[in-house]
Amino acid sequence: MITGRTYGLLLAAFFVLCFGLAADLQPQFQAIENARKQSDNFFILLLGDSSRIFANNFFTKADAYYHSGYYPTIFDNNEAFRTAHMAEDTGAVASHNEGEETSFMGPPRDWLDAFGRHFIPNRHTHLDEGGPTDDLSKSSQVAEILPWLELSSKLDPEDIRTYLVMAYWLRNSLNKVSEAERVLREGLRNNPGNPQLLYELGRIDNENYNNPAQARTIWEAALRTWEGEEPNIPLADRLKLSNENFDNRFIYEQLETHLAQLEEKAGNNAAAIADLQQAELASPKPEDIQSQIDELRQKMNKP
């Protein structure tokens, strides 16, 4: 028979359990609450993880603007648009595009379709090549993609390709170097130590600010973070030649090649050769790099 004392003890045990559970959970909830309060990103607070879907949508929208509205919908054949052309043209991302980009619509299906095509953008163009007017003096119109990219980066601050694309066009087509630097620094604030962002930042220091010492420091830091990303995987595996591995190989090759260029300019040919040999491991065309190495060796051997 259960006595009143048993009930009392059970109640006390429950109380202790509840207290213990609350004491354990409260700091965790507090941490989540603080993280939410600290986040100054309005979109992420509002949309949560779904903000990434919107971010991707706006990234695609920017690419549609890059084509002046000539862009496939979900009903069209989008094999030639799997990788955004505005990102592909920066040379910083792997291309997954196949097929003919100029004729995703195919031949008109009927007279209504043929007639309707007079009222929609119906020719493949890129904004940096002048857009629908083919007027190269209007290549600065590529700035029209920036509002959507900016919005995309706000919605998904961890998507580095948005920062890379923005920085590329700001620096190369619009000559807005300080804005490009600001974009990359914002990207680095959200993705600390990202080697691709550091590589682009180093390029600004080297090519625009003419500060090779600063560029070298940044690129060396990028190499360190690249190596630290997957410390247990051997270098040969990380640099294996495959399309999925493009980002890894590309950034490693670029960093080593650019470091080699700096060394060569500084007159350190031996160090340049060492860097090029590393770049050779990641390059899809190692023979090109080998010829550079041979040239440097010849230079070194000359009296």
Partner: protein
Amino acid sequence: MRNILAIAKVVLVEMYRRKEFYVLFILTVVICLIMGSINIFNDKQVIRYLKELCLLLIWVSSLIIAITMTARQIPAEREQRTLLPLLAKPLSRTQLILGKFLGCWLVCGMCLICFYLFFGALAASREHEWPLMHYLQAAFLHWMALGVVVAMSLLGSLVFAAPSSNSTICFSICAAIMCLGRYLDEIALSLHEPGRSLVYGIYYAIPHLEIPFAMRNLIIHDWPLIEWKFVWLAAFYLVGYMAVFLAAACLVFRRKTVN
């Protein structure tokens, strides 16, 4: 014709008194100005996102005005018991329908003039050019498309019991046509019979309002002017649908008891 114009004039006067247009216009202006004040990397030339937003707001506002205004015309006359005295005058039912249609369509035209003037001013503030013929083409086909919407709503107001249900159905139909109309043939191709024939039938039967709606992209991205012969062909195509809907409305109204 005089009777039709008289009815149309009454509709125009009524629209001056109502607040829908003013509210929607001010809302469009405020939203566009707020969005225009955003600094995009200190580049004052970036305008296309703003043009897209403005044109979308113009389309939505114009559809709201066209559908809600037209949907309540005949039911309001019936509710206020002014329909019978109106028809007691030397005015046929067909003239009443045509007068209402003309009035609503003219109101839409006047609203569009205001909206497109604002759009032109907004675009010119950054682009420093005024592609008048492009805007004229866009506004003209927009007005033609609204003519079809007005005629359809007018027919709906005679078929459906309440203006609210008519407005909802008309909005849904317009939205469906604008989003999917162009792809119905492609969807039909992926279906088996009899679904294929049914969807093909719908594809050829519906008024393709997405043609003028999709024209926004040409304006937004500064594409060259469309050849005028295609604009006229599109206008004739839309006028054909206006005539079909109006004829149906006249037939329905002729057989309808008004008391």
